[in-house]
């Protein structure tokens, strides 16, 4: 009896699935590192849970955060997720750099299989569970405020997307504790990821994590696009939207069209692995080239899903911190739209080396270079925005400047790679690795960090510490150059990517420099956490409750910091591209409205967390072949969706009195705050009220 029941319950779980058992049986450095990582996850989870219990905050977290459908709280949770995952993936990056630096003609301390898991999780996490949550969180928080709306179009769906993403991230974390992760890289190319070559649970972890993430992102894209089309406040015509909203719109459109190819690619791979289909297998007519097309049909637009929101952040930041209108708004909008369209026409450049005709390669190479034009235009638009302005070198502005200069170098090598013959040499080498880090670290991470510093005071009501921000900035920039410029050299010397050992002694000095750079990047992240700690500690001195610490231009600055649950007591009406900037100069933006009204908002819902937990359980069941768990999870998700459609009491109302009380408290604070000139914005004199000039 037990023979039949245990396997049915536990699927293919065995004791050796636990890294601790493996480390016990084979106590080498590599297994110990693995067990250590697993232990960190478990101990970290226990510590967090204990802390919450001790503080008695479970109920608070559940009712105020986890079940919240408020776009602001969902946005913050996305960004918390992004930071957690960034920490893990950055450490993995450092480990890989350390391994290569020590593995010149020596085995190093990480075994090949473990190394392969490291680069697979590093890439998967950075793209799907760091970059995507970060930009989704930022858009979630900022976009509805910028368009003068009280929420996104589908608040509950928004919560579902968040929890699907969190479930997917949890799955990747679970692979540290139970089983192993994929060794097939973030792109999971078959036939290597087929059962014949990767029979273990790793690839399945990858498949279901990415699939859940891609479904979450598709839903997010739909949600944002509908919000921007349908929920702009009166007078906010398309060509009056802040640039960040434009980039959010284009990113959403890309998500709607580009995430399905990923879903299809991973679903077909899953069919191959679970039901013996033959899409990408070597035998019976499978064809892995179709996977490459499907994956990169997603993969290339994905690059712009990641980069466009950062472009939006830079547009806001450069304009605000130059005290100047954005130069070439129309041209920036056109450039963004052109990039959106062109991003679907270049996917073949990810596999120029697959042996297709020269005509095809040349056509896709030219399309790739064409994207350089609108991108270059954007850079110049930001330069002309600073021109004739008054530039303040705050942390977000520093990130923007570093981005502009570093991104150009990435563009430089991007054009090189767009030439198919040059790609034949650089493909699959560290040159390529250096190139895409050179695009994504400035083009995504710097943008997200600029946005984080820029809007943090809006979200939490106090400024982030400037000194630690600058230290972190310095580490991010210096660390980037030290870590990745050597990789260009190594790639040009023919060093393949994803290699656990190195046999060429002349590569060693470059690997050392890259290793130091990686450590600096870890220091940069650590400084960010120190900064957060210091800022929370000193929050009383840095309060900006009045809501406008940077002499802002858009609607998000016209309300208190942090904003009330309903965002706007009265939905705004706008007649220019920078309504708050003009408003401050034309009349008093802090005058109370004629009357307050009751405000109806969506009620919190358990739907999101419930679906997230069930999806994680179902996916875990699929990974481990615990079919009962997969089936129960899937059925329960359907039950939750149906039950939700029967819910009728889905709104709650904030009375006009309460709105009035909240607003009056803010208006009094604004009236009592001293307006400050820009020279003082980094001091505690800044209470969030800007001195208005010209």
């Amino acid at each position: 009896m037990t023979d039949g029941i245990l396997p049915a319950v536990l699927g293919r779980f065995e004791w050796q699935s636990l890294p601790f058992v493996r480390a016990w049986e084979h106590p080498n450095a590599s297994e110990i590192v693995g067990a250590g990582a697993g232990a960190v996850v478990i101990i970290g989870a226990i510590l967090v849970a204990a802390l919450i219990t001790r503080l008695g905050k479970w109920r608070y977290l559940w009712s105020e955060w986890f079940t919240s459908v408020d776009h602001k709280k969902i946005g913050i949770m996305y960004i918390v997720l992004a930071f957690v995952m960034l920490s893990r993936a950055l450490i993995e990056g450092v480990l890989m750099r350390m391994q290569q630096a020590t593995a010149v003609n020596s085995p190093g301390f990480i075994a090949p299989d473990h190394f392969a898991q490291l680069f697979s999780t590093h890439g998967t996490i950075m793209i799907f569970f760091m970059a995507m949550p970060f930009l989704t969180g930022l858009i979630n928080y900022v976009m509805p405020l910028q368009i003068g709306s009280r929420d996104v179009a589908f608040p509950v769906l928004n919560s579902v997307s968040l929890w699907l993403t969190a479930a997917a991230a949890a799955l990747v974390m679970a692979s540290l504790v139970v089983g192993r992760f994929s060794t097939g890289g973030w792109s999971g190319y078959p036939p290597y990821t087929e059962l014949a070559f990767s029979p273990g649970v790793g690839t399945d972890y990858w498949i279901w994590a990415v699939t859940l993430g891609s479904v979450g992102s598709t839903l997010t894209g739909i949600n944002f696009a509908v919000t921007i089309y349908k929920m702009r406040c009166a007078g906010m015509r398309l060509m009056r939207m802040p640039l960040f909203v434009w980039t959010a719109l284009c990113t959403s459109i890309l998500m709607i069209f580009a995430m399905p190819p990923l879903t299809v690619a991973t679903a077909l791979l899953a069919l191959d692995r679970y039901l013996d289909f033959h899409f990408f297998t070597n035998d019976l007519g499978g064809n892995m080239m179709n996977y490459a097309n499907l994956f990169w049909l997603f993969g290339h637009p994905e690059v712009y899903i990641l980069i466009l929101p950062a472009f939006g952040v830079f547009s806001e930041v450069v304009s605000t911190f130059s005290s100047k209108q954005l130069y070439g708004y129309t041209s920036l909008v056109i450039a963004t739209a052109v990039i959106t369209v062109l991003s679907f026409t270049v996917w073949v450049h990810h596999f120029f080396t697959m042996g297709q005709a020269a005509d095809i390669n040349a056509a896709f190479g030219i399309a790739t270079m064409a994207i350089g034009v609108p991108t270059g235009v954007k850079i110049y638009d930001w330069i002309w925005t600073m021109f004739l302005g008054r530039v303040r070198f705050t942390v977000p502005m520093l990130f923007s400047l570093a981005f502009m200069m570093t991104f150009v170098l990435g563009g430089f090598t991007g054009i090189l790679l767009a030439f198919p013959p040059l790609d034949y040499l650089a493909h699959n080498t560290l040159f390529l690795v250096a190139h895409f880090h050179n695009m994504l670290i400035p083009g995504l991470l710097y943008g997200m960090l600029a946005g984080y510093h820029y809007w943090f005071p809006k979200a939490f009501g106090f400024r982030l510490d400037e000194k630690w921000g600058r230290i972190s900035f310095g580490c991010w920039v210096l660390g980037f150059y030290l870590a990745f410029m050597p990789l260009y050299v190594l790639g040009a010397s023919g060093m393949a990517r994803r290699t656990q050992a190195v046999f060429e002694p002349s590569f060693r000095p470059w690997l050392y420099v890259a290793g130091i750079g990686a450590l600096l990047l870890a220091g940069a992240l650590a400084s960010l956490f120190v900064q957060l700690w210091v800022s929370v500690r000193d929050r009383k001195a840095n309060r900006v409750f009045a809501g406008d610490p940077w002499d802002g231009r858009g609607l998000e600055w016209s309300i208190s910091a942090p904003p009330p649950e309903y965002n706007f007591a009265v939905l705004p009406q706008v007649n220019s591209r920078h309504p708050f900037h003009d408003g401050k100069r034309q009349d008093d933006p802090y005058a109370p409205p004629r009357a307050y009204e009751d405000i109806t908002l969506p009620r919190n819902s358990m739907t999101g967390p419930a679906i997230g937990i069930l999806a994680a359980a179902a996916a875990f069941g699929l990974v481990w072949h615990m079919w009962w768990l997969a089936i129960i999870g899937a059925l329960a998700i359907s039950a939750v969706v149906i039950a939700r459609s029967f819910a009728r009491d889905v709104e709650h109302t904030i009375s006009a009195d309460e709105v009035q009380r909240t607003e009056q408290r803010w208006l009094r604070a604004a009236a009592n705050a001293a307006p400050i000139p820009r020279e003082l914005e980094m001091t505690s004199a800044n209470q969030g009220l800007a001195e208005v000039s010209a």
Partner: protein, 284 residues
Amino acid sequence: MMLAPRLLRLLAALPLLALGGCAALEHGVMNHAGPIAASHWHLYVIVGVVLVAVAGPVLLLTPLIAWHYRLSNKRHAFRPKWDFSWTLEGLIWIPPIGIVIGLSVLLWDYTHMLDPYRPIASGQAPLEVQAVGLDWKWLFIYPDEHIATINRLTIPAGRPVHLRLTSGTVMQSLLIPRLAGQIYAMTGMVSQLNLAASHPGVFLGENTQFNGKGFQDQKFNVVALPPADYPKWVGQARASGHPFDADDFAGLFHKSSPSQPVVFSSAPPHLFRQIIVRSQETGS
């Protein structure tokens, strides 16, 4: 662990960088050893020079303008509402479009010229070699010489080489940085690569597409012999007395890297085709 000495060694290595760097680049296309790689390098330089001209202005203007228009510099004009100029707009759209059109012509020509399938123009007929990517080794079959090797590609310098590639396992990618670019080797399919060495020498070849835990070991030497020595080498190979047999065929599919290159004194006539068919039938 011994972190301190390691750190010291790291620091000591820094001044040696310049020297070490040059040494590293000698393994790449910069130190090209054949006509194809030489053209690649030529293209690198042309595009690089154009791009320096493109990126240069941004690298100069960004810090200059940001610094000049800093808040504390009150001597300059401040025009917060200035946000458009047709002249500037023309300047940022039209020249880049022109440059991309110019580069496109270059790209089109070079992509066709350096098409890996394109035979190298030469007075001599190319040497035919069939390359098979395996876990974690390369098999080279010389169909005209009826010999085969594992993890060593011996070629005559000065004569074009025409490689036909397939994979006996997952997808791989063959790169010999000093001789030519890379091309994928895929199961059930045949891709091609033309290359040549212009002088005798030993060049590194490798698989660049990750294919499992022996991936980093999948390297081989390309030995370019003086033209007169090549027939001698073929003769030696044939005399080596190790014909390729059924055990060797089975051995190809063991996941391992041989510690030494292997030479087979004879190879069955349809070995390449046999491997293609086998993978499609067994799926692994």
